[in-house]
Amino acid sequence: MDFNHNLFALMPVLPLLGWLVLIVWGKNMKEPTPGILASSLVFLSFVLAVVGFVQVSPMKEPLLNTLRWDFLPMWVSDAKGVLVSKPLQFGFALDHLSSIMTLIITGIGFLIHVFAIGYMHGDKGFSRFFAYLNFFIAMMLILVLADSYPVLFIGWEGVGVASYLLIGFWYTDVKNSDAARKAFIVNRIGDAFLMLGMFLLFMTFHTLNIHEINSSFGSVVIPNVTTISTGIAFGSPPLELAALFLLLGAAGKSAQLPLSTWLPDAMAGPTPVSALIHAATMVTAGVYLVARSHGIFANAPGASSWVMWIGALTAVYGALSAIAQTDIKKILAYSTVSQLGYMFIAVGSGAYWVGIFHVATHAFFKALLFLSSGSVIHAVGGEQDVRQMGGLREKLPTTHIVSLIGTLAIAGIIPLAGFFSKDAILSSVFTSPFGGDFSGYAIWAIGLIVAFLTAGYMWRWYSLVFLGTYRGHAHPHESSSVMTVPLWILAALSVVGGFIGLPHFLGKNVNWLEGFLEEAAPNALGFHEIPLWGELILIALALAAAVGGILFSRWIIARDGVNSAGWIATRFGNASRKALFVDQTYDIAVSAPAKFISEQLELADTHGLDRGIGALANGTAEAGASLSVWQSGFVRAYAIAVLLGTAILVGYLALRSFA
């Protein structure tokens, strides 16, 4: 066996093994063992990811594993139009893009595993928790390593399953179970579209291998799209439509409008889960999907512009909804929605590396923020309402410092990670070839507003938790080092993470990430150039928005106090708290009618249709019964029937001979 080629494929296998072991024997293990086992397996995967990174860095082509087998039946017409069986292979590929993702997943995943050893201390389902976490990591790795869409789809739904299990981890609470179910179902809406996208791609390209599809566009030249598409397309042009399907699929996983509603509810899961799945990794799968399918999106300007717009709207929506939340994790959840919107803007603009850049930086600081929240929640005895916190600066010094770093990073304060990625997004959208005459600038403006809002609500989050005086009733204490060490590492990453993607004006080759992803996820063609001063102005504006947001937030809190009673009671505040009523709209427009129809159908099918069939049967039987009237018992009546029958038959004969 080709060891070099298959080594990286072990990455998902290790955590999967961990899952299996923990599911089967986990119950018999003493407390830290499952955690240690799970963490070390993920760490091994991380090592493999690093090895893979080193392996793949110098390569131009993706590294394909050689251990493959038939997975899905497929037939394609050969040159003569004869159908030839060409089953899709189950196989992995490691290229620069997936390598980055594996590093993020295993790296951050490892840290969160470690954190969870402390966080989940004493929980009845300790080993189960780590089993699920390992399962998640495995699925996420399959997702990013897949070399074809269906294999990617295994991971795609697999992480959905993991997410379902982890959101509903404390399943005895109906709320948690409901949230888990909701997450899975909403995800499935996206998945359905992703499937449709795959089908259309297969119709167009006769393959579902991602690299084959991407390379069929050539690396530089945009081929004439219509020559690629053959056969009857579901709408047209097929490529745009396929891209739109993929977009909707991505929207499901990445909680974009209109499929965003599950993510805030998903905070019902334990906090490490929120950090790992619902901030750092799984939710970025949609972004990854778009970047992965760069060939398609780069050649589908319409769909790309939709990606940007959906991203922009989601970013605003998330930010607006985050403003007035009172749950420490909900604020971060809506913030995640908003930041994911940001990433969509980036990948929609055609600058795929920027999207991945933000995925990385966001993974650092959002995981950090979530884990910090976890630490806080842990410290205040499970309380999650920020109005019951405050003044934790002294009591939780470590948590406070790292939270501040995280807050500033997400707000986009120079030189923290968020600043660089956010700046890269704003400038790429400004120069995007998919913006058209108006969209690019409009979305850029929206991005700027969102930056302002982000800084604002994050500062509110920070102040309500850490500043002022403690308003709760618990006795907060700092977490153990098993929890704080990961926090420090993440904080460090949040500080320096931005340097992998320094802006262009600092020099031609300073942007390591863009160069690294040049082969795996090249930019779409046709970005405008803007002069240096323009770029500087953009940076300045972004920075100003961030600083402005923080200041505005400080002013509001100073004016209205902790509860922000002044404006939170306003209609706007209410709307924000209810997340712009999206949930309610869904209930009225989708869930309730669907449920109603289902109930009616069930009634109709069990009773109505049944009654119809029954009526038919009874009618038949009645007809039989009515024959008994004819069967009167009188022999002369029977003779009449015989004679009448004779008469009719003779009459028929007579008519026939005359006719």
Partner: protein, 487 residues
Amino acid sequence: MIHLIIFIPLLFALIGLFLRGQARASISIFAALASFALTAVVWIAKIDTVYRTPWIPGAGIFYSVTFDGPSLLLALVATLMTSITLIYFSNRKDSQQAEGMYPLALAMLTGLLGIFAARDLILFYVFFEATLVPSLFMLGLYGRKNRVRALTKMALYTIFGGLLMLVSIIATKLYSNSPSFDFLELFGRTSQLDLETQTWLFLGFVAAFAVKLPLFPLHNWLPDFHAENHSSGVADVMGTLYKVGGYGLFRFALPLFPAAAQNLQWVFMFLAAFTALYGAWIAFSSKDFKRLLAYAGLSHMGLVALGMFSLNPIGMAGALFLLAFQGVYSSALFLIVGMLEERLNKDVQNEKTTSQALEIGHVRGLAASAPAFAGVALVLWFASIGVPGLAGFIGEFSVFLGAYQANPWATALAVSTVIASAAFALTAYQRTWLEETTTTIPELNARDWFVLVPILAVTVFFGVFSGSALKLLEPSVQAVAGLLGGK
């Protein structure tokens, strides 16, 4: 060999009639296992010779049997699941009261294997209808309160469709001037028929298969059939395996009447897609586990039909795969329900407690006391709703993929079932296993594991390493698709 496989179960069913208790159970399980083992031998040794001998030569009827790819796969599943089911049943407390299940299940197995093996249309019909009798007896002897109604309904639906098919079979031979009912002789002649003739003959076949699949609006017997059957689920498993309409379509109706199939393709694709969605949607409001599973099965069968009518090799391969493996995991869900019922139902004889035990949400939070049980149930549910990595996905995805190439709109309708099925499956699951614990049940015991582990293994193994099963299907699918000029 092939005759042994087909008739061993029946033979032992007859022997079993003269035995009681443990002896009957053992001999029945042995027969099923032997049949499975022999089928496996056929698979491994790649025996695919056609055995053909005159049955009624004057009428051109042959006893012509073989296990080629799809038949073999389905036969493997049927024998395996029957073995497992009988083992499961022998562990049940109430197995003594329903001893007749063993011979009836074995008789059904013979019927099923005959259906899969038959290459002569009349022979196929004979097996197809004969299998109904033990199935009716299972329902009638051991069913629940309204069993006679359910039984009559099922019998009437099936026979109605079946007799129309019989007329069609006879007419097929006459119109095509074939010397016999042997598929190989008919085939090729029938495609020369004009479109109108083909269409009528095709519709005759479809009448039977649409009932058996079932396809909306001929499905009404199915929920009652499952809901009224013995709560152990043995009959349900056999019933699930007996959903051979899709196989019939693939094996006979489509290759015999390609032009008609192509002509009516879109109608049936929409009907199939609608059935899939309809079943899943109704399942959401089902209050009884077995009704729920029945509607879930209806939804699956809609997908099977969709794949078949896609006339596309991918879709047909997917449909066959789905047909085979839903026989594993959907069947297993019935067994799970049976195990659950056994744990919850204090008094098996009491209709009321049985109904309660089968009611969704009557008890909640069972996962707390039986986490492994809950986990197994969840895996099987996930397989059933087509979560990738499990066997259900391969079939479902391929069906969609193939069907999309033929009719995107119908497929888009059908794809929406993935949402609906997630909704009903997880809701039902949550109402029973999750949420606040109201009652506790014993965890799976060793014998339960003995039943469930093979099922899980098959479900997971063929969800990832599907190649070996696909290999079996490939040549037949290729051949049929070639006939149909599929895309």
